[in-house]
Symmetry: D2
Subunit: 344 residues, 4 copies
């Protein structure tokens, strides 16, 4: 950490800063420049990150040098983490295709869609039972009945299932049904929930918040990891942008950036990132080409009757075509698409 | 609601859209233009807002005409709502000054700060007992002990108190101590929590999320209002911006915009909006001049020792000076600053 | 165009709006809903786009249905435009690799870099002679001497050259040397300059501004096209984002979006989009996978001595590796990488 | 400037960085921390700002300490600059009200509006003769005829006039008619134009670009100042935001931020910032309360017939009411509203 002092800082103020640093067991290295004096802090700067050093009189700016996350950092864990979702691997060269409808609506709906995406090559089935809807008047999901359907259809097709949990009081319930728990974008900084899902030791799919930097995302992962698990998959699903032509702004550069900074796998969700079926395939390919460890796409056989987000779903036949292209691209990139045993 | 059809839409597709609209008890009004055909929907469009009409083949775009919120809309409630926090009024010409430290740290700290802000003219005391910290390694608040201190100091100075609740399992606990419950920006779309706090019928301070539009904010208010309360105060506290010079981007235009769209009061929080003590007074004045129904400022007597966000706190003497200017400005604007009985 | 009227609109106001519409030779189609009255405008709405209809009393909102660009729209020109830069094709299945240093610094520098990128597979050489630098104290380019060097080195290696023009007074000069003129992001809405370069009838590389929507970009292209040329290539090079980890936010979804809306080719520039050599290859691959008609990358053999933007340049060997991957990906996608005759 | 080295930097690389720094006549101060080694640069870091130090092998990050602008910085010029526009003062406690239509349309139009705003208290008349329109099909301004009208009406009412210049070839022409030259937001980084207007030594109104940080704005001012003038007024007019409810996002905190960093005056333009007449008065008040040195508002007596941006204009009577409030607020703040001699 570097502490930059104000041009008119007094000697007394400098001494005060140095004493403050040293009182935490760190060393302060003073460097007087022509225009500014700076203090380099030597030692474990994480001790200082919670300290309001910028509030000390005479301090102009505090520049951290180390990232504030530890467990999530690649520096501490150089090898990529491979997350295992009931046998399906994500990360370290393994690419998972995750697909399914936005919301679980009925057994028939799930069965139809699961059959289609399984055939196309998806290895994890998604479906929402508890839906975070912007409007209190929208369909809020089938709740536990939805979980039951999702589990049953997953079992029928031999597919692990992932579903969102929004309420810390329901983490246990959702864990009984799901192989992987999803934290939605709107809850990325719901720290209470993060700790709670971390305790389950289940694989977690952590979606990036719409105004979260990649560092914010890794800090939220850190909350989960600090509960003693390493099974976290990050997900880029678009950030808030200024162009109303797309629902969000797909930040594909977050994929290689996460791979630089962290050992955790990261997948992409072009469905939420764009909100437009006509852009989803191109963005799915872009995400994989950028190094994503998985691709998450919403699929519905009757989008116009979907109870949630139908307008952004791919049709099963569109998904099958996309999955085919993704498989070819993965091969070119030297990645392995995680596959399931053929259904008997 | 207006449904814009694609240039190559077929007659069959048009009929399908019309049937779909009419099946919901609404009327469809077809208008064939030179370049596009549109369908105006006549009747209560909220029935349609959850329908994925954009997914119907032949539909190019769906343009809503009515806002998706009802209880929060000014159209439905032309008169401004006045929220009453244990006797302190907010809205409808009443301006409340809310102040206190970011986090409750000790009885002595709260007592010192409460005495100062009370003297300066603040009428509601704030202080965090459960803190949503980006890092799991930062101070997370004193928990129930913090609530106890906040309540006791509030009582000592005759000030109503407001504090954040992050966990639906603790809404009841926090309600026992606080006069007003705060929903933080990171939880603005934690819909589970919104419903839970709505049920308490307590006044709620709902902070705008960093990537929330004003409509998103009003939709979150709608979740609370739909629990049967009207006691919601909105808070503009800065949205995500691209200039690293300030912590967030203070969207002061949200104040008159909320007043156009809604009957709910809105206050400003220049502390979080800017993150810089040197900009807080100017932005507090700007917020009030724009019509805000209150000003929320973080104050600490020893910023450099604060356990949370010290670097953005005003000193008590800076706050006193600001409060003085705010009072004069309120007078000029014909607003009443809510005041407390003198402490005996 | 749809004109939405206010809930309290009077009959007189409605009549006034209708008369206004009809006075422009258009027809107004009135539709009275339960909550709102709307007027659909029938005929060529571009006549209305410049009219301040929203300022008419009683009007709540004006919703355009047609895009405001014509020459750039795919509706008007369904087939993709293929731009020809001195024999190198861009668009319609032809992918061009454009590479070179940020700025022309010397003959030796250009020769070294051109030899390397030519060998790697680039078919167009870039290099700035007039540099738009944020600081007046930074290197501003070699001016005409730079143009001379660029042309000579381009000729030596049989490569067409592209360079930026910033000043309408120098369009003629730059046209004498360059095969393609670049409009930089900061000048995307310098409408004077757009008209001027359009008149040259040369191929234009139009970079997207940092806060421009895709529609804004197409409107700027429209300025050029309205001078009677069709030779415009668009370029996605990152928009303003909130994460300081990257220089800009690479909006890869703009590639398929432009392909939906327009017949013009679009290339990507991951160098400016990310500003980080460690992210450039992944983003270049992402752009191509999303359908880009070209990839523009800055290359320098001595980045640490570059006079402009050295920190974001790839080394020649890094570029060669990337170009190899891009060629394989183009093949997989069924695209043709534009190539030059072997240098004799 | 601080150079942070990578964790795996070699001694040789460290030596290379030090030599590079010293070769520029600066001193390097090495500080070896537990986790990172840093090099503090002692001397005038502006020598280094153009150097691509981040491209040197072993360098992780380069942290500038000094701002890159000099002439615009408050550090160099502690006292506020007062700009004099033909007798009307802006800055240093003097507040100017600037008003007029978006575009000059006719003598009668300008005369009507000038009479009204003059009466209301405005002291500078604005009106566009060359209009930067997003669409090539929109009204582009009356050109020199517009300048002539503006000048004549300004003279008739004894008001200095400000108008935009977009083309470096017309700077001389516009200077013959205008007392102050405006650089529009879209040309804020048109560096060619900035230098050209700087040479006129006329007062310049420099509007902030939609994606410009405050530092970017000050760097653009630096271009003008480096031509030997000090007569630059900055203008906050909204930056790109994500909420479609307003045209732009009014960044009111830029006002006190500019006052911290620079000696130059800054005014606000709530017309472009919000694009909504119903929000303009509140934002004008907010800007002044935040310390703005002037308020720029577009006024039109027949908004629905305006040839440009009519939908965001205030009516003369709305402006008169706003001006009255602004005068009272200025008085409260201890500022002087610049006034003109009564028209005889």
């Amino acid at each position: 950490m570097i502490i930059v002092l104000k041009p008119d800082v007094t000697e007394e103020q400098i001494q005060h800063v140095i004493e403050r640093v040293e009182s935490l067991g760190l060393r302060a290295h003073l460097s007087r420049g022509t225009y500014r004096t700076i203090i380099g802090v030597i030692g474990d700067e994480t001790k200082l990150q919670a300290e309001p050093l910028a509030a000390i009189p005479g301090v102009a700016e505090v520049v951290p040098i180390l990232p504030p996350y530890k467990l999530a950092s690649r520096e501490a864990h150089p090898l990529p983490t491979v997350v295992d979702v009931a046998g399906v691997k994500i990360g370290g060269g393994h690419v998972a295709l995750i697909a399914g409808p936005c919301a679980v609506e009925s057994y028939e709906q799930m069965e139809t869609i699961a059959a289609a995406v399984r055939r196309a090559g998806a290895s994890i089935l998604r479906g929402g039972a508890f839906k975070p809807r912007t409007s209190p008047y929208s369909f809020q999901g089938l709740g536990e009945e939805g979980l039951r359907i999702l589990r049953a259809v997953g079992d029928q097709f031999g597919m692990p299932v992932v579903t969102e949990v929004m309420d810390p009081r329901r983490v246990e319930l959702v864990s009984q049904y799901a192989d992987m728990l999803q934290i939605g974008a709107r809850n990325m900084q719901n720290f209470t929930l993060l700790s709670e899902v971390g305790k389950t030791q289940k694989p977690i799919l952590l979606k990036r918040g719409m105004s979260a930097t990649v560092q914010d995302l890794l800090m939220s992962a850190e909350y989960i990891l600090s509960e003693g698990t390493s099974q976290v998959v990050l997900c880029e699903r678009g950030v808030k942008g200024f162009d109303p032509a797309t629902r969000n702004l797909f930040d594909v550069a977050a994929v290689p950036l996460v791979h630089q900074l962290s050992h955790l796998p990261i997948i992409v969700d072009p469905s939420h990132a764009t909100g437009r079926p006509d852009l989803i395939p191109a963005c799915a390919m872009a995400g994989l080409a950028a190094g994503a460890d998985g691709v998450h796409v919403e699929v519905h056989h009757q989008p116009e009757k979907a109870l949630s987000d139908g307008a952004q779903a791919l049709l099963p036949e569109q998904y099958a075509e996309l999955a085919q292209q993704l498989k070819q691209l993965a091969q070119l990139l030297g990645k392995t698409i995680s596959t399931l045993e053929p259904v008997q």
